[in-house]
Symmetry: D2
Subunit: 365 residues, 4 copies
């Protein structure tokens, strides 16, 4: 099998002209579309409707082409949109296609493999606790195995939409009275999703994980997780990006962990791991397909030892600031403003830092 | 004469505890204070009162110590505050002192020299036109001469608070009817101040300057100007930072022009000019005193060839975004979040870019 | 013919469940839909994509039901959405249907009549000048005539989406050089649309209108205009709401002009004109169908003689404040939070004020 | 004794020209100043420095006139500033002076009496619990007694700055482990202050109060409390406004409880209680001295039965919206934009509603 990827700048959240042209040209088939990941120009918050607009437009583009009603498209294709193109970020979408039939031919060079999975539906009391961590880990391991990945170190990005099942006030009261208050919100779902990733890939030993460790023991983290959580979602949606000798194409992925949101050296290290020379901007420009990162306004209130004000601003939220900062730093190294940074990074990298993954096109001979 | 400088992190705009401790310790005398330049955590806009709070606190700190009423302190000392510590920026103040008597002893090594001046009072119709440009240039040349600067290339920063004299609706109408509508606002005053700097230092030949060239011919610019304009101010306040063989101390300044707000290479170039190795973060940390830059959300709507959304956002202004981005990029290179970025940069560097100046302490033997 | 109207609260900009249920129940036919007017929870500005989402959802709901592609639906039905539900405003939509065949039977009681029209396409240089005013007036008069309206005073609301045709920098330059700089923007298009309404209905004598009067002579205004302008639109879309003896149904409309955004007395006056007692909240609740108003942060900087800060706030725009204030005042009188307030009101009512129209259901016997 | 009051519009948070002129004219003595209450044009949040600027300016105005250092002025005079003049609100200050000697002469007409008090210093674990409630109540009762108030119903406003003593992470951990997690924040301090007021004045029977009832039993509330809480404050500052037969002057106060933020009828009821006819705008304009209210974006998500979006907006906070709405409604009834609304109203009036107090000048004969 083979992965191909296309990056489109968009003129607005509802702009699907790039993908439509791709379909119309016959270059790719809608049936092969695996995932579309993108940045929209919303605020990334509760009243950000740009993601819904992007998905609405994609559903109506793809549905008729694959013969399913628009509202069923997301059963087949993962749409993962992050609001907030603060600063220099160019609103864009990356579409991943999977074509060809699986085979068991082991090739000498590993290539990008992309697989998707869904956890079972969670109950509200499971979110943010071991039940979510373990089921997330189980699902990731299964996807990883299906991709023919030979080493957990070959997994470079686990993009997740974390479950937050609906619950009643009565359920919340019952849970509180039973001594295990619900953790069924965005913070905890992101945290457990990241720890589930770390567990699946051996980044954290299982014996250190517990309900108590979540959102408390910040030394435990994944270097490849990237989770946003979505109220109302019952199952966590998972897209695994890895290197596999059973896949073809000209794409590769590498990753690293940034120590903080100013870590330009960390960005350069990932570039090198991806086979790119940080000084060779022309090559980067030619071969970079996508950059995915998680940002965070350091909750300790400092960056590089000095006070920041991101957490005390009632006009602009810390999520907008941290995305703006990290995207600027990454873009300044890559020379490219098509950077996907999503924010809040509990157990995604060390506190104040976070993972970065780069998808690149292999150099042509 | 000798310049000394101190950088203080502040806990809030009204925090003058650093300077107070300096005075109380006897290390510096209030009489020697030349200028305090700082970043406050406001929005940098019309309803930013953090600058007023900072100045109010400084006036009441300094006034009694130099024997003048608080409201007269700014006749003697330049206070230049910029609102907006978006992202990683640490609110801070840099205080410059000038001590010793002038002499005419030419020393083998040039050191930082700081001088201040004021233009004459402007009439509203002069702002944004040749009258402002020429008077600004005249004043700068005079300050430069007084500092014993031997080469215009030794001037590295001209920090200005640009005049915007008050005017009546009647005056505005008269001017419009006379075919020369008033330009008496922030945009034009910043623009003419920058061109005045360029004229004074020979960055732009006088024959290319005209009323028509202002805010139109963007090829004309200064690489060392840094102007904010202030409604109600009749005279432009000017602080010149230069290298002079007639000054002592352990401070130096260097500058460069950033091509755009992602220009990390440009920041490294200025570091090198200041005698610092961009890879030697410990040395930078030890010796960096201040970083001053101007930012701009590229008015052409793109950065590095791709669309940005800073100019179409009705929730957050482009000035906040561009400060956030450029400060993040500079801080990522310097490893220091005490970065002074002020925004809107008409004729300050090329369109979309702007000047950067670094004040450093010389390496001790 | 007969107008019927339905008001739906929405759970989000893309929520069309109310209208869908109406269609599915057979109560109304999609073919009879004339217009949907609504408030969305965006910021009402350049980066407000909630209006696009609402329209996208409606186009995909209505298109298949009337047998036209989604992108052609707006050729047949007017969708008019205003972003910004600041404060107490409930996001909602009002759908108007027109059924039955026209006849020439004059009935003893006038009822609500709704008609739509489009101006011809405008050239950029016409916007904000007499050409736009006169063509807008011509179109309104034609729609009014078609509705069988007997008296211009029976027109109570002219809802417009004002044209702003695209133009090149070259066209703008040429126009400026020819001494007639383009006015092709939102301010001027709204202004000329309102004056066109005033001209059509005799609110302003034609001899007082001129290119110079636009955005200058604020004594000239319409008390029934409500225009938003949309970049890229070539023709102004017009919906006329009037009382006509040739129409049936149980709906009526009345209007008045509010003196300022605190004019609760003005709201009560319109209620009375609509046949409702301001003290009878149960009747208002039962019979009120829709409230349409235009708001404005008084450009003179004061309300009721005292300073307001809406125009000096760089965190929140004056458009958001003025909508919030006026909607709160109207809702406090009506006892209903489904209030449509759109903002910026050049020549819509006196400076600082604006029109208010109420659609009500006639009392059942 | 006698209370006099002056209302000043301000040109900015640091504008104390009105009070200065009053002192300079000799009309009032700085020694008699009891309290200054005002609205500043900040955001009312954590990064609102306008309150600090206002206090800084007042301290430097008053200090020299009463012979104490600026930083000690607030030991003698209460300064109570609320940020946020959203919408139509005019930034303003009301200064209260107390002159004459206390006597025991009971007069036939009650007049406004103003007294101040401070609770003892609180420990962090007391905040939000019965200890804070009871000490607050004790202090209020004492002030009320000193004022010669004969009936708790004669107390119309208890303006408080609620204590939030500093604490260490260790103390917080200890408290959590001991089963009584700290409540030492703004929400709980406001809540307990309001309940303390209710207890002092008999609005709530003591047997219904408990640690558990705080922020849970919303049926318990005060109709006269108005508390903001301030991190770092050890003692709650209290200003009691009441009617007493032992006081002179021409001022009176009345209050009422608004059912929600649209309750214009409630505003009119308070006007009538204050002896003013809501229809007589000239009299209101002439005699109104100050309006104090508390607002709240109804936490149940609806106003008058319909959805509001104030709690789901990540660009603008609910505190800004609710102040804007309620101030607009009050101003629309009073015809005056000098309205003091502070926000978040736990146990201040019923859920979604809050108290309103009006200070008026008695009609001259």
């Amino acid at each position: 099998m083979k992965i191909s990827a296309y990056t489109f700048d968009t003129r607005g959240p509802g702009d699907v002209s790039g993908l439509r042209a791709l379909f119309d040209s016959g270059a790719e088939r809608a049936e092969d579309l695996v995932a579309v990941i993108g940045k929209c120009e919303g605020n990334g918050g509760r009243n950000d409707f740009t993601r819904e607009l992007a998905m609405h437009a994609l559903e109506h583009l793809v549905g008729p082409r694959i013969g399913v009603p628009p509202e069923r498209v997301q059963d087949r294709v993962i749409f993962s949109f992050s609001g907030g193109t603060e600063g220099v970020v160019t609103p864009h979408q990356i579409a991943f296609f999977r074509s060809g039939a699986p085979d068991r031919v082991r090739r000498p060079v590993k290539r990008l493999a992309v697989g998707i999975g869904h956890t079972r539906a969670f109950r509200p009391e499971e979110i943010g606790r071991m039940a979510q961590i373990e089921e997330t880990a189980r699902t990731i391991r299964q996807v990883v195995a299906e991709l023919g990945v030979e080493d957990p170190a070959d997994v470079h990005l686990v993009q997740m939409k974390g479950a937050i099942p609906a619950f009643t006030a009565q359920e919340a009261d019952n849970a509180a009275r039973a001594g295990a208050p619900l953790r069924c919100d965005m913070v905890w779902s992101r945290a457990a999703s990241a720890l589930g990733t770390a567990l699946a890939l051996g980044e954290v030993p299982s014996e250190r994980l517990s309900d108590e460790a979540v959102c408390r023991d910040w030394d435990l983290y994944s270097g490849v997780a990237s989770c946003s959580a979505k109220p109302g979602l019952e199952r966590t949606e998972i897209v695994v990006f890895a290197m596999s000798p059973y896949w073809e194409g000209d794409l590769a992925i590498a990753h690293g962990v940034l120590a903080d949101i100013l870590d330009a050296d960390g960005v350069r290290a990932v570039l090198r791991r991806a086979g790119l020379d940080p000084a060779d901007t022309a090559a980067i420009r030619a071969r970079l397909v996508a950059a995915f990162a998680k940002s965070e306004a350091d909750p300790r209130g400092t960056v590089r030892g000095r006070r920041h004000t991101m957490l005390q601003d009632d006009d602009i939220g810390d999520t907008r600031y941290s995305r703006c900062v990290l995207a600027a730093v990454i873009a300044s190294v890559l020379g490219d403003t098509r950077v996907y940074v999503s924010t809040r990074a509990e157990h995604h990298g060390p506190i104040g830092g976070g993972p970065l993954a780069l998808v690149v096109r292999e150099a042509s001979e």
